[in-house]
Amino acid sequence: ACGSAPDKGSSSGSDEPTTDYLPCMVSDAGGFDDHSFNQLGYEGLEQAKDELGADWKTVESNSENDYKPNIDSLVAAGCNTIVTVGFALSAATVEAAKANPDIDFVLIDDAADNDFNGKVDAPNIKPLLYNTAQAAFLAGYAAADYSKTGVVGTYGGQPYPTVTIFMDGYKQGVDYYDQENDANVKVVGFEGGDKGAFTGGFEANEKATTTAKSILDQDADVIMPVGGPIYQGALTAIKDSGKDIALIGVDADFYETDPDTQPYVLTSVLKNMKQSVYETILAAGKGDFDPTAYVGTLENDGVGIAPFHNFEDKVSPDLQGKLDDVKQGIIDGSIPVKSYLD
């Protein structure tokens, strides 16, 4: 069956850009649908360009080889702002930024400081960083409070700092809970440093599932998988276990991004990349690009934890209050949270 032809010349108006400003983005090897920072950055950019009425260009990288050519091709395409994602793109971003001083760069999750002098290596790069340890600390505290078995777990994709920072904060949160409440809640799956349970990649696969199962086998009743799609493995493990296990999301609020998880999410450790990318691009589009590094903290709501949603009734009534206190303590520095961003 054939439909009728639309009138000639009429095009769906929203496609036509109303501004010359062209924001662009390069993913790292994870691709834009990594359920993690690439995706959140992408969504932030999308939101901003829609609001600006701008066109945009995005390119995915499949390997380390692709970073430079991808950035170069965006430079050649006349982009005004280029968002790059991940420490892996740091060097390529710095190089491109130096070569193209009139283009603004936004680098997610890296300080763009490859000579370690404490300063960003090019004046036209804005690093977006997130001290997720602070938020994970709160999640760890909540997990410890919620746990009935006295065991909570976590595992990661690969021992990258952007991954272990969650696990580290989480563990510190649990330890703080133990210390404050004279409890003995144990963390399985992370020992500190790069010692812990890792699936060896950021794919959702059987390894992610069995690793989660091994953690549940240790009687853990809260689990926090860190590393994009690997949470799907934990979800499978929880469903298969037939037990009452709580899941802690990372990056975004799983309750909203993946409805499948709703019955299980205790809370999520939020890394508000979407918001900060959106704000940065919006500002850049209006000509107010500010290259000062942005560090998301509890204080500026760049990181945080999501509401308990379905678990509202399951957590102890005074938990929210305690969390608010801890949060305040972290913000004012009375509760120290260690992370590599210090």
């Binding site: 691709g31 649908d33 995915e60 777990g153 595992y155 021992p159 399985v188 799956g189 020992e191 790069d194 010692k195 812990g196 349970a197 890792f198 060896g200 990649g201 794919e203 959702a204 696969n205 059987e206 390894k207 992610a208 599932t209 069995t210 690793t211 199962k213 091994s214 953690i215 549940l216 086998d217 240790q218 799609p229 799907q232 493995g233 979800l235 499978t236 469903k239 298969d240 037939g242 037990k243 499948d260």
Partner: protein, 428 residues
């Protein structure tokens, strides 16, 4: 005139048999490992007790937990290992090969000792360890079965990875569109068979080098599925990439057998299908007319041709069947482990399956065991790293691969493929 006769044991050709060479390999390796474990115990002695948990909390029959002192167990094991070494040496002295049961016993003992040491102060979930090993091995076993079948008929199948991946893709797509796990599985199997068909057209009909076709098919499938994923599946994830999830179904009675039940009989339908597949393939290959012909075609196609067997038709049928099986393995990824399709989600599993085919010496049962060994090593790494092994995670992650290299180089050695494996058959 007198006849030359020897009063020793002889083979079918009437040649005397003295002793197998290389009988010393087993006792040497045995002794080496016993010494290694002893050394570990001396230099890094483990404090505390180790608990072996033989049942999970929800089990119908609760087997007691076995708690043993880590160090003491270690030493008992060392002594037992030395006994086994002596036994093996006595076989060698009689110029006999160490029997398989002794090797198996040795391995189980050594593992127990190692686990008691590694999990000192913790409790080790034996059920979880073994069930997880099985789960990790499922797609590998399917893939390896497909590989064994193909190679037994003389077609080298490097494209197992492509079949798994395309199977996963097919299952995700059809599963999402129809919501039916049965149709999803069927789609996965057809997808695997489609890859096999392309392999057949090029390798059997057009005599293209089978290694080339296999390698290239893998790339083709990666390219195609990744392309479709980005362009079609990901933007329409709700309707096209949310296949039904297969959950575990306990088999009544069998599922309640202590220890064995939770490991083997509380699995998904795919795992039960796997049991059937392994048994059926093994049985069919060795006991049926079809199997005899498949093996004949893989060993000596011309001989098969001269007795009226259609060589290439047999090969086509066999690899299509192999494709169906490998495709079913692909369904595991999307219907069981993950619940959606992701690009390159097999993570090279097909290559591991290929290794299992060779490791298993082209025998369905041995290839299955090889895949299980790999699954076990992987899950052992999982469990130990969750327990908090005092080793950097990179080395833990290396474990399954290093174990495989060791097993292949140290224990298996030379393996002989079917004689006509990889050689296209042309008729005059």
């Amino acid at each position: 005139m007198s006849t030359v006769e020897a009063d020793v044991e002889t083979d079918e050709a009437g040649r005397p048999i003295v002793a197998a060479h290389g009988v010393l390999k087993a006792p040497t390796i045995f002794a080496l490992f016993a010494a290694l474990i002893a050394l570990v115990l001396v230099f890094k002695s483990a404090a505390g007790d180790t608990t072996f948990r033989l049942a999970s909390r929800t089990d119908f029959v609760q087997l007691p937990e076995v708690t043993v002192p880590a160090n003491g167990t270690g030493w008992v094991v060392v002594v037992l290992l030395l006994v086994a070494t002596a036994a093996s040496a006595s076989y060698a002295a009689r110029r006999l090969r160490t029997p398989v049961w002794l090797v198996s016993a040795y391995v189980v003992l050594a593992l127990t000792g190692f686990l008691a040491w590694a999990a000192a102060g913790e409790s080790l979930p034996v059920v979880g360890l073994l069930a997880g090993a099985l789960a990790l091995a499922v797609p590998l076993v399917f893939g390896a079965l497909g590989g064994v079948l193909g190679e037994r008929s003389g077609v080298v199948n490097i494209a197992i990875d492509g079949q798994l991946l395309f199977g996963a893709f097919g299952a995700a797509l059809v599963g999402s569109m129809t919501g039916s796990p049965v149709l999803a599985l069927a789609a996965a199997m057809l997808a695997g068979a489609l890859v096999a068909l392309i392999l057949g057209v090029f390798a059997i009909s057009y005599f293209v080098d089978q290694v080339i076709v296999g390698v290239v098919l893998n790339v083709l499938v990666v390219g195609f599925t990744s392309f479709m994923y980005t362009q079609v599946l990901a933007p329409n994830a709700d309707s096209l990439n949310s296949p039904p999830h297969l959950s575990a179904v306990a088999i009544p009675v069998l599922g309640d057998i202590p220890l064995v039940g939770p490991i083997l009989f509380r699995q998904t339908v795919l795992v039960y299908l796997l049991y059937v597949a392994v048994a059926a393939v093994t049985w069919a290959l060795y006991r049926t007319k079809w199997g005899l012909r498949v093996r004949a075609v893989g060993e000596h196609p011309k001989a098969a041709d001269t007795v009226g067997i259609k060589v290439n038709r047999t090969r086509y049928r066999t690899i299509l069947l192999a494709g169906l099986i490998a495709g079913a393995g692909g369904a595991t990824y999307t219907l069981v482990s993950v619940g959606q399709f992701n690009r390159e989600m097999t993570g090279g599993g097909g290559y591991i399956a290929l290794a299992a085919v060779i490791f298993g010496k082209w025998d369905p049962i041995k290839a299955t065991l090889a895949a299980l060994l790999f699954g076990f090593a992987t899950n052992l790494q999982n469990v130990l790293s969750v327990l908090g092994a005092p080793v950097p995670s990179e080395f833990m992650l290396m474990l399954p691969y290093a174990v495989t290299v060791f097993a292949v180089a140290g224990l298996v050695g030379n393996s002989r493929p079917p004689a006509a494996d990889g050689i296209p058959y042309r008729t005059g």
